[in-house]
């Protein structure tokens, strides 16, 4: 194999592309990332569990909740209050994550 590929990394990469578009002010992408950010907030706040968070982005939600639990806990419930600052912060959290080795 020429390079390493895994589906979850690709999802995360595309999610960061959506975040970048949202930072630029593209509302279409903002509404998509808002859903993920809101669910991460609901997950860390105990309003949702492993059993009912969005299955397609479950790994992104768990990753975000692990990387900065406090930030997502303190976010408000209303995604309309999320903005460029929120998206930039989430991008920063993802970009600063440590590399995960495979056992």
């Amino acid at each position: 194999m020429l390079y390493s590929h895994n589906q979850e990394n690709e999802k995360l990469k595309l999610f960061t592309i959506f975040l970048s578009q949202a930072v630029k002010g593209d509302v279409k992408y903002a509404s998509v990332v808002n859903n993920v950010i809101l669910e991460t907030h609901q997950f860390v706040a105990g309003q949702k569990s492993l059993y009912n968070i969005n299955r397609d982005v479950i790994n992104i939600i768990i990753l975000l909740s692990t990387l900065d639990k406090q930030y997502f806990e303190e976010l408000v419930d209303n995604p309309q209050d999320y903005g460029k600052q929120t998206y930039s912060k989430v991008l920063e959290i993802i970009n600063n994550q440590p590399q995960v080795p495979i056992l």
Partner: protein, 388 residues
């Protein structure tokens, strides 16, 4: 990123599309999917890639990858190439776990023995579908469930029992089952398990006996790490056993030479066989109970027998089996294995064959009869629907 590299990627796609654009499918849903790919390509043709920034180039990269990947499977799923009967039965099993009419099984025929696998790169990637919709205005009604199987045995119904295992990968990804089991088992282990439960866990996942490994796995999830991979394989074996009992064990034990050691991707064959035999023999230990509890909590479905046995001597009389219930279609595989493992002299005597049959004769008979049994069921069902 260089726009010229995107141009290269897109040119490669155009070259592939020139070969594929006139594909014909027996399934109208695939035809519609194919038409959508054409719309995406037309959209990309209208763009000036030199004016795109890095983020926009990356978006197109994913879209071109998506179309390429779709074609890779659709090209092997045309009227002329798809193992139609096999896919029909797998789709029945799939609907037990994904009842919405949202998924289409497509196959890619691989040039290599035992190259069975599931490719989820198009199935569970909501963001790429959203991106295509936002950029190109194309909405897909259906998603492709991509199953790779060896070209040389694409019509071998004995070997292809393992495709139920591959379908299991679709189910575990759709419901994110592995991820939840991963977290729950480690959490329980860290919290302290009774000795019997801990021993059962370490029996199936030997490396969990080391505290350092447990800490590492808890802190460092990766879909390709050993624990995630092993959970996924055990789940798929369990899933398959609902439809084909222990039949895939025969084939698995042979092609892995009953591997007693685990690898970074798969548990040992010995453990996989024990896992399924314990389940089928109602001897659930801690791990099996936890798997079943978690699967039920997520999917609301039980792990249970999902095929219907039938009694028949039709194969022994060289005629297809009369299948009246769709769940009996799964039992055709177990019937085929029963005949294959039986005494062929008795089989030949019952069939009234006077010459000495060799294994290839039986191989052809069993595979043809399974395929015809499925084919007859489909034809009769469609005929009855048309009459009604």
């Amino acid at each position: 990123m260089l726009p010229k590299l995107l141009e290269l990627h897109f040119s490669q796609l155009q070259s592939e599309w020139n070969v594929s654009k006139y594909n014909s499918y027996s399934d109208a849903r695939k035809q519609e999917y194919h038409k959508n790919l054409g719309i995406i390509i037309t959209y990309l043709e209208s763009e000036d890639f030199s004016k795109l920034d890095d983020t926009q180039i990356q978006q197109r990269f994913y879209i071109i990858f998506f179309v390429f990947k779709s074609l890779e499977f659709l090209n092997h799923s045309t009227t002329a190439t798809i193992p139609f009967e096999l896919v029909y039965v797998l789709e029945l099993a799939m609907r037990d776990w994904a009842p919405e009419d949202e998924y289409l099984i497509v196959t890619s025929l691989i040039n290599g023995m035992n190259e069975f696998s599931f490719d989820n790169s198009l199935t569970f990637f909501d963001l790429v579908y959203t991106d295509i919709d936002l950029l190109c205005g194309v909405k897909f009604k259906h998603r492709l469930v991509q199953i790779n199987l060896p070209q040389s045995t694409s019509r071998d119904y004995l070997a292809n029992v393992v495709l139920y295992h591959e379908l299991g990968h679709f189910v575990e990804k759709k419901h994110a089952i592995t991820r939840v089991i991963y977290i729950e088992l480690l959490k329980a282990l860290k919290a302290g398990l009774p000795d019997a439960d801990k021993n059962d866990l370490i029996k199936y996942f030997p490396y969990l006996g080391e505290a350092a490994n447990v800490d590492f796995l808890e802190k460092s999830y990766h879909p390709h790490n050993i624990f995630a991979m092993h959970i996924s394989e055990y789940f798929c074996d369990l899933f398959a056993s609902q439809y084909i009992g222990d039949c895939s064990n025969y084939y698995l034990e042979y092609i892995t030479l009953n591997q007693p050691d685990y690898s970074s991707t798969h548990p040992s064959t010995t453990n996989r066989v024990v896992f399924i035999n314990d389940h089928l023999g109602n001897r659930d230990g801690y791990v099996l109970k936890e798997f079943k509890r978690i699967i039920k909590s997520i999917t609301k479905l039980d792990i249970e027998k999902r095929s219907k046995d039938f009694t028949s001597n039709n194969f022994e009389n060289l005629i297809p089996a009369e299948v009246t219930d769709p769940q009996q279609l799964h039992s055709l595989f177990t019937y085929g294995w029963k005949v294959w493992l039986s005494n062929w002299e008795t089989f030949a005597k019952m069939a009234g064959i006077e010459f000495k049959m060799n294994s290839f004769n039986v191989y052809e008979i069993v595979n043809n009869l399974i395929e015809k049994s499925i084919g007859n069921y489909i034809t009769t069902k469609e005929w009855n629907s048309a009459k009604a």
